[in-house]
């Protein structure tokens, strides 16, 4: 092979490799993109059924119920306007508490219950997941348009 041929082969191989990698990455990307929805959006039917997404908001006070004899938990997540029932099985994170912000990862089932396979509550008292903060602000503005949007929820 001449030098030119060799170089062409090498470049061709590299291009093919990079193209394959890019294809792969983008397909994986499409399939694994996780959207975030607030309880109001879910209630309005904006969230896709049978497809995982993330749901965030505050845990409604006195909504946390343990099923005795198992690790099943039920609670409600709200953004101030609407609330969505959530079920989860397992150990909850340290900072999971009523009135605190959480983000749950899971799927909506046919009866409108969100089945979480992962629940996150961040490790800081002052911390509010930014998605939750934004969702609360939006619902706040919808409820009383006169209030400023910059206020802490």
């Amino acid at each position: 092979m001449t030098r030119r041929r060799k170089r062409l082969v090498l470049i061709g191989l590299l291009m093919a490799g990079v193209a394959a990698a890019a294809m792969l990455a983008l397909t994986a990307f499409q399939q694994n993109l996780l959207y975030f929805f607030s309880p109001s959006q879910v209630a309005a039917g904006e969230a896709p059924p049978d497809y995982p997404f993330r749901l965030g908001g505050l845990v409604v006070a006195q909504s946390v119920k343990r099923v005795s004899g198992s690790l099943d938990v039920r609670f409600q997540v709200t953004d101030g306007n609407r609330s969505i029932p959530v079920t989860y099985t397992g150990v909850l994170p340290d900072l999971f508490r009523e009135g605190q912000g959480v983000v749950a990862h899971g799927q909506l089932d046919a009866d409108g219950v969100f089945r979480a396979d992962q629940v996150l509550a961040k490790h800081d008292e002052e911390y509010m997941p930014p998605e939750v903060k934004k969702a609360l602000q939006v619902s706040d503005n919808d409820a009383n348009p006169s209030r400023s949007s910059g206020g802490e929820p």
Partner: protein
Amino acid sequence: MIPELGQFALVLALSLALAQAIFPIYGALRGRVELMAVAVPAARGQFVFVVCSFVALAYAFLINDFSVAYVAANSNTALPWYYRFAAIWGAHEGSLLLWVLILGVWTTAVTVFSRELPVTFRSRVLGVMGVVSSGFLLFLLMTSDPFTRLDPAPLQGRDLNPLLQDPGLVMHPPMLYMGYVGFCVAFSFAVAALLGGRLDSAWARWSRPWTTGAWVFLTIGIAMGSYWAYYELGWGGWWFWDPVENASFMPWLAGTALIHSLAVTEKRSAFKRWTVLLAILTFSLSLLGTFLVRSGVLTSVHAFATDPLRGVFVLGLLVAVVGGSLALYAWRAAKVRSIGRFELLSRETMLLLNNAVLTVAAATVLLGTLYPLAMDALGLGQVSVGEPYFNSVFLPLGLPLLVLVAIGPLLKWKSERWPELMHKLRGPLLIAGITLLVLSWWFWQVSLGAVLGITLAVWVATGSFEVVRQRVSGRRNPLAALRRLPRSIVGMALAHLGLAVFVAGVTAVNTFESSRDLQMRPGEAYTVGDFTFRFDGTQSIQGPNYQATEARIEVLREGKSVTVLHPQKRVYQVQRSPMTEAAIDGGVFRDMFVALGEPLGNEAWSFRIRLKPLVRWIWFGAVMMAIGGVICITDPRYRRLLGREAATRQGAVAKRFSEVRT
């Protein structure tokens, strides 16, 4: 008084950093030796003042000076002294000061260990480092002053985030920063070479030990972070593809590519332009990491700042450094020519493929990390890219890379013939083939991934041994030959072996781990595999600044006690936040992991119990890679060649001086 002195020292450090940035570069441009001579004293002076400032902040923490806002926000009298010290870098301002301090350490190291470099080149290197340092000192003084006073001073501090109260905090950030900031040296060497227009194999040889050094620190830093997350974040994972982890992983991938491409540039004078670009990209990714973590655009345990001005400032710094150096690259790189030619089947090609894979890997991580931020900024909805994406991308990228790792070092530079390659590879091929057959027989129904992963680990390991064996066998005295092996070969083999160990660990954990959430009452037990975990009840524990509920779990195997685990649930008094302290029984072949959940009434508690085979191999592997890197750096050839070149060059300089004088 002391805090004000600390702040004043920072201002002095900034003025010296500016001097270090301006005079040497201008002097090198005009060929004026007296201006270039400013570089070393300015760099060392700057370091001294940054140390003063750091000591002042440390003093404020150690004597609990809560009139300093930063101390009040991150410390507490009940905190043990070592955590009060580590709390310096427990939040934004102090960790930025640590960044600048470590840049000072590297800069001073350059002034000490590069006396033999040509004066103009060294001045340019130090000048570029001065530019970076000025930027960060300005950032520190303008947006994140750690010495701001609080009036009136509170009686008690707000305490350190309980998650950070761990030996991991003492070591993890400094190590990581040593790595991040260390790539600044490689970057400065590259930019200096572009400025001077001289880019040869000597340049590559000078920057190799520095780059490897930074890479060693980054490897250790990431491994420590992973281990810390494993036992402290409570739930026993070792890598979460958290954006902040990605921020440290991207420069690691690019830095690994850089180490390999520097080898080609040094040995064969090829890939020059690519190597320079990679040096710039690696440091840019380090800066991007700093920006992502410190600007508050990401939310995680690591993100401290939410002040938008800070984000804008770091972004500006990022644009200036990256944009400036890339513009310089575009302008000057055309002058650089690679002379080394090579055949399709050669070590160069293998290293080229290595670089292609590692760069694509870094790019996919970048995509996964930045895409959600871009979507959010453009108001297109809030998305996140999780573990499945990274796993599905890294698997197909990693497999060919692992195949290549064993082949590359066995190939000759420039050109190799297929029959010879096959002859060299017969050992690894045979052993990996047998492994594949045996594993397929046992495990193919369990997991194809496990079969592939373990086979590739064996392949890489035998390949590493083969590199050493072929240089030793057939000699009259193999032991002496082993001792005479170049350190860089030994280091490389060890690092590749570390990769094999790492891959084995990851495969075992991903395939054979068992994890279960369950509830137990005192006296109840849970059996997994050979092990039985018996819950014996809880008791209260009083710590220095927390209260804890501690469970006693006895682990039995065939009726005999193996170990007793004490997982805790802590509540820290000041911040009132609960913390899970998992109990781990570590071993070479398996870890037993128990985390205490919450009380379920009736004395029952929820637990998470995990049996993780070979999990420690993940960190063993990383440590082996780092040790391999250290061995490479100590290769005497870097110093010897440097000395010889310096001797001839100093002769030339002396001659030129005498010509100027006459």
